[in-house]
């Protein structure tokens, strides 16, 4: 029963062959063989039937066992002793009941002299029942995680105000001076922060810190059109995480403002589940005008409130403890004159983002901390002065004579109870009173008896919201539709390819008239294609200048399109076709990024294996197969580097764009049909790819990749391009280049 060379299988071959058959005439022998085969098949069939019966019998047996167990359970529930003990069960809460039972049991064991053997037996049974990997080896090399003692409040004692409030607080903030103090280590997050900060009503002055001149320049560009107030961008040492920049570098500004917002460009790479932590905090504190207005209303009408922070992000809340920060915290507490009760339940603005009255931060500002007081940045996750200050913020607020309170967006809290709604102005006092907790006077608040079970996923509503935001699905129709030029660069394509590519592009241009309109631009890099397209096909055709290369060809088309007033240029490969809805989806995403992003379509049916974030849709580089380039990005980057004849020019453009603060996104709703599956590159293409790769490595200063590609080129018999004195990418840009994943230039998914 083996396939033939052609892979063809005939099932007749599967008939069992009977060996040592007696000699007989051909027909009789075959009949005999076949008859035996039938008999064998029928016998096997009977056996299989018997096996199926056996399986069925086992199933019946298990069903009976289950029925018996249910009967026993019911008998217990209806027994007299169970009913008698119901009073005790209801009278005593669960933990107390368990404690009483345990105490009685221990007392009985002591009285009967069986305590030690019992404890030994329990320990042995406990060890045996633990899964192998969770047992702690008794060696000094034990690396299993050790959780610090639980210090957070019980969930049932932990309240937060639900935001936004149930009415629209028409907050009068014109008399208040408000500042946002923002630390942005990752300058590419500037656009996201800008979007959130515009939700603050009235004037808002920005104080932004970053760690070098290059990042500062990107931030200046991002906030150049900030009209709600002043923008002060400062370069600070990369020390003390976001805390030192906010408390030390901007210590001079607090006195000038009534309220301050502390936020920073947090990226939590150390745990995937925390990837949306930043967005959660920003949504909770600045997610909409109504959210911010509610918080400001709280400050205005509750003068004792000094600080407003987000309720803990659910995937993080089982880590709410002192960690390794207690020694630092004790030192800090003694400086602040705070009696730190490390036995009392702890709470703090996890993530160190919050709104505050300036006065509520005065105690820590008065310490006049210096940057040198903070540890050198070592990439450590815990155990620094910055982490201790994060845990002390609420203590500081109380020390200043204020209360603090937590807030939450109910839609982003799937497993958090006690979100206190504030449906009306009149309900605010009661809601605040219910939600206030004082660290210095914990009262009857108890610590959690045990760590909470981990929440393994970010809230679904938050993921959906961030994704919708990234795709621009929540945007209104633009004031005027985008003028879109779809550019096709042909090279010896077939008529079928060109008819599809141009026809599909036109279809996509006409699909969402509120969002876009435009034309198809075409340039022949190979032979003249005008005969291949139907007469009367309306295209903007540029005169060919021969094969000038991919980047140069598209640059020509782009220059022409932008000079005619087009807003966006979309480069598409001639061997593909746009989905009718693709351009509209890409324009939405461009609008979501305020025309400042490079947007690639998703290649279809097999998308490019390089990774992209499934929620934010960020990607390390964008493919030129179907790429939308807004005018502003073209003007900033100059388009493709024409020294790349073919291949890698899109990677180079992507890295240059990222270095200049342009977000790169994959538009997962824009499909671009691209027939590249099962396509084996010819040797000439492999050589071309290597030559471009070599150029990329030289431009971006990666000698090891250069050496590797030179070897490949030599092996392929390709010509090694001579070293030229062409300009290299600036040194500060080189962190955006990724040569660690070969020609994928990014981690790949498969």
């Amino acid at each position: 029963m083996t396939p033939t060379d052609s892979g063809l299988v005939h099932l007749e071959d599967s008939v069992p062959q009977v060996k040592d058959s007696p000699p007989c005439p051909q027909g009789a022998r075959e009949r005999d063989l076949v008859a035996r085969g039938i008999a064998w098949a029928r016998r096997e069939g009977e056996l299989e039937r018997a096996r199926a019966d056996a399986v069925q019998a086992q199933l019946n047996e298990r069903t009976q066992e289950l029925a018996f167990a249910l009967t026993q359970l019911e008998a217990i529930r209806t027994s007299t002793s169970w009913r008698i003990l119901r009073v005790i069960r209801q009278a005593l809460p669960g933990p107390v009941r368990h404690a009483v039972r345990r105490a009685l049991k221990v007392a009985w064991w002591v009285a009967t002299g069986q305590l030690i053997p019992r404890l030994r037996a329990r320990r042995a049974a406990d060890l045996a029942s633990r899964p192998q990997e969770s047992r702690r080896p008794d060696t000094e090399h034990d690396s299993s995680p050790v959780f610090p003692p639980e210090t957070a409040r019980r969930l049932e004692d932990d309240h937060a105000l639900a935001l936004p409030f149930g009415w629209n607080p028409a907050i009068e903030v014109s008399q208040r001076r408000i500042a946002a103090i923002v630390h942005l280590y990752y300058e590419d997050l500037a656009w996201e922060f800008k979007r959130y900060l515009t939700n603050v009503p009235g004037q808002l002055d920005l104080f932004i810190s970053t760690v070098d001149a290059f990042r500062a320049q990107c931030l200046r560009h991002a906030f150049a059109d900030w009209t709600k107030g002043t923008v002060d961008i400062r370069i600070v040492p990369n020390r003390g995480r976001d805390i030192a920049p906010k408390l030390v570098s901007f210590a001079d500004i607090y006195a000038r403002y009534d309220y301050v917002l502390h936020v920073h460009g947090k990226r939590s790479y150390h745990a995937g589940v925390l990837a949306l932590w930043r967005q959660y905090l920003l949504e909770s504190l600045t997610g909409s005008r109504a959210v911010v207005a509610s918080i400001l209303h709280l400050f205005e009408h509750q003068p004792r409130i000094g600080m407003v922070a987000a309720q803990h992000y659910e995937p993080l809340r089982h880590w709410i403890h002192w960690g390794g920060n207690l020694p630092h915290a004790h030192r800090l507490a003694s400086c602040l004159g705070i009696a730190l009760n490390d036995e009392a339940p702890l709470d703090f603005p996890s993530g160190s983002m919050f709104w505050a009255r300036s006065a509520a931060l005065r105690p820590i500002l008065d310490l006049s901390l210096q940057t040198e007081d903070f540890e050198e940045e070592a990439g450590g996750k815990d155990g620094t002065l910055a982490h201790a200050i994060e845990r002390m913020y609420f203590y500081v607020c109380e020390r200043a004579g204020y209360d603090w309170i937590k807030v939450a967006r109910p839609e982003y809290c799937e497993h958090t109870p006690n979100l206190v709604p504030v449906p009306s102005v009149g309900a605010l006092d009661a809601a605040v009173a219910q939600s206030i907790y004082r660290l210095a006077h914990p009262g009857s608040a108890l610590k959690r008896p045990a760590p909470l079970p981990a929440v393994g996923q970010s809230p679904a509503a938050l993921r959906t919201h961030v994704l919708r935001q990234a795709l621009g699905l929540d945007l209104p129709t633009p004031r005027r539709p985008y003028r879109v030029a779809v550019g096709i660069l042909t090279y010896q394509n077939t008529a079928q390819q060109l008819i599809r590519a141009t026809g599909a592009a036109k279809s996509a241009l006409q699909r969402a008239v509120d969002w876009l309109h435009g034309e198809v631009f075409l340039l022949d890099n190979g032979t003249d294609s005008s005969d291949l397209l139907p007469a009367g096909a309306r295209l903007q055709r540029l005169p060919s200048q021969g094969n000038v290369g991919f980047g140069a060809g598209h640059n020509r088309l782009m220059q022409d399109a932008f000079s005619r007033g087009y807003d966006v240029y979309v480069a598409i490969n001639p061997d593909g076709a746009l989905h009718p809805d693709a351009l509209a989806a890409m324009m939405r995403m461009i609008a979501a990024n305020e025309d400042w992003a490079l947007i690639e379509a998703l290649q279809f049916p097999v998308d490019h294996p390089k990774e992209y974030d499934a929620v934010t849709l960020d990607t390390p580089w964008v493919s030129g197969a179907c790429l939308a380039i807004p005018r502003s990005v073209f003007e900033r980057t100059g388009g493709f580097d024409e020294r790349f004849f073919m291949y890698c020019e899109d990677v180079d453009l992507s890295w240059r764009a990222r270095a200049q603060g342009v977000p790169l996104k994959t538009c997962a709703t824009a499909l671009f049909l691209h027939a590249v599956t099962n396509r084996t590159p010819t040797e000439a293409i492999q050589i071309q790819v290597c030559q471009s790769g070599l150029q990329l490595a030289r431009k971006w200063g990666n000698s090891s990749f250069e050496d590797k590609v030179m070897l490949d080129l030599t092996r392929l018999g390709g010509e090694i391009p001579p070293l030229t004195a062409s300009p290299r990418a600036p040194h500060e840009w080189q962190r955006f280049a990724d040569f660690g994943h070969g020609f994928s230039f990014a981690p790949v998914r498969w």
């Binding site: 299989e48 096996r51 199926a52 990774e611 499934a614 997962a668």
Partner: protein, 272 residues
């Protein structure tokens, strides 16, 4: 009896039968439609098969795919609604109804959301023409997430051993020449457990006219678990022991039928 179409099929037309389980899956159907639009092969017809329980109308299907059928060189679209009411056999009844509606000599069975690579139909057709088999298989990628980009694929390479174990799936990556087999053979047997019906059909088609696994080295389709689960490991979708027993019975019955037919050819007096 060979299933020779009565009228009007264009030469080498491929009918792609796409099962739509529910109205909610119309966006997935549109993705499948776009992958069919991308096929190099023409003429191509997309037959959307759905059960009455899917609560979907032909108008809705046409509307969901209208933008694709307006593109240059589109595929032809046909909707086939099956009104059988057995809930556990909806998909296969719908496929059986769709098979009856097929006009072209070749058919592909797919679920909404599954994608064929642009060269899939052409490559499989080449195999059938080269080998004379009635059915050609390629490798497929099992994906665990359609949206967006979080999938980790697992490639499944079908071969005769998989068929013998009853683990072959017909959806995507398989082209059938329906002119080479009779109506009676070319239908999914709903008396069998659902997990082995595809293998049963493949076995019967193979018994009649041969199966080609020569394109198994090529991955030509992406397949998604219909239940939206994350099962990409073929081992995870293994059938239960009861299903396996039923499958073995079906396989042996197919063997017996095959042998009966040979006996009848040898001895007209033979009665099974």
């Amino acid at each position: 009896m060979m299933n020779i179409p009565a009228k009007g099929p264009r030469p080498e037309q491929i009918d792609c039968l796409v099962y739509l389980p529910d109205q909610q899956d119309l966006p997935l159907l549109a993705r499948t439609g776009f992958s069919l639009y991308g096929q190099f092969h023409r003429p191509l017809r997309m037959i959307v098969v759905a059960n009455a329980a899917a609560d979907v109308t032909a108008r809705q299907v046409n509307s969901a795919l209208a933008s694709l059928t307006a593109l240059p060189e589109p595929f032809e679209l046909h909707v086939c609604l099956d009104d059988s009411i057995e809930p556990e056999h909806r998909q296969d009844n719908a496929f059986n109804a769709g098979i009856m509606q097929a006009k072209g000599p070749y058919i592909v069975l797919m679920n909404a959301g599954e994608l064929l690579y642009p060269e899939a139909c052409s490559r499989l057709l080449e195999r059938l023409e080269a080998t004379g088999a009635a059915m050609a298989f390629s490798a497929v990628r099992n994906m665990n997430a359609i949206w967006p980009g979080a999938s980790s694929p697992c490639t499944v390479v079908p071969d005769f051993d998989m068929l013998a174990r009853g683990e072959v799936r017909l959806n995507s990556g398989c082209l059938i020449n329906r002119t080479r087999v009779s109506h009676g053979i070319l239908r999914l047997d709903t008396s069998l457990p659902a997990s082995v019906r595809g293998s049963d059909l493949a076995l019967r088609v193979g018994a009649a006219a041969g199966i080609d696994f020569g394109a198994s080295h090529l991955c030509l389709a992406d397949r998604y678990p219909p239940d939206g689960s994350d099962a990409v490991d073929p081992a995870a979708s293994q059938t239960s022991s009861f299903d396996q027993a039923a499958w073995t019975l079906a396989r042996l019955q197919a063997d017996a039928l095959l042998l009966d037919r040979r006996m009848q050819r040898l001895d007209p007096q033979y009665s099974p």
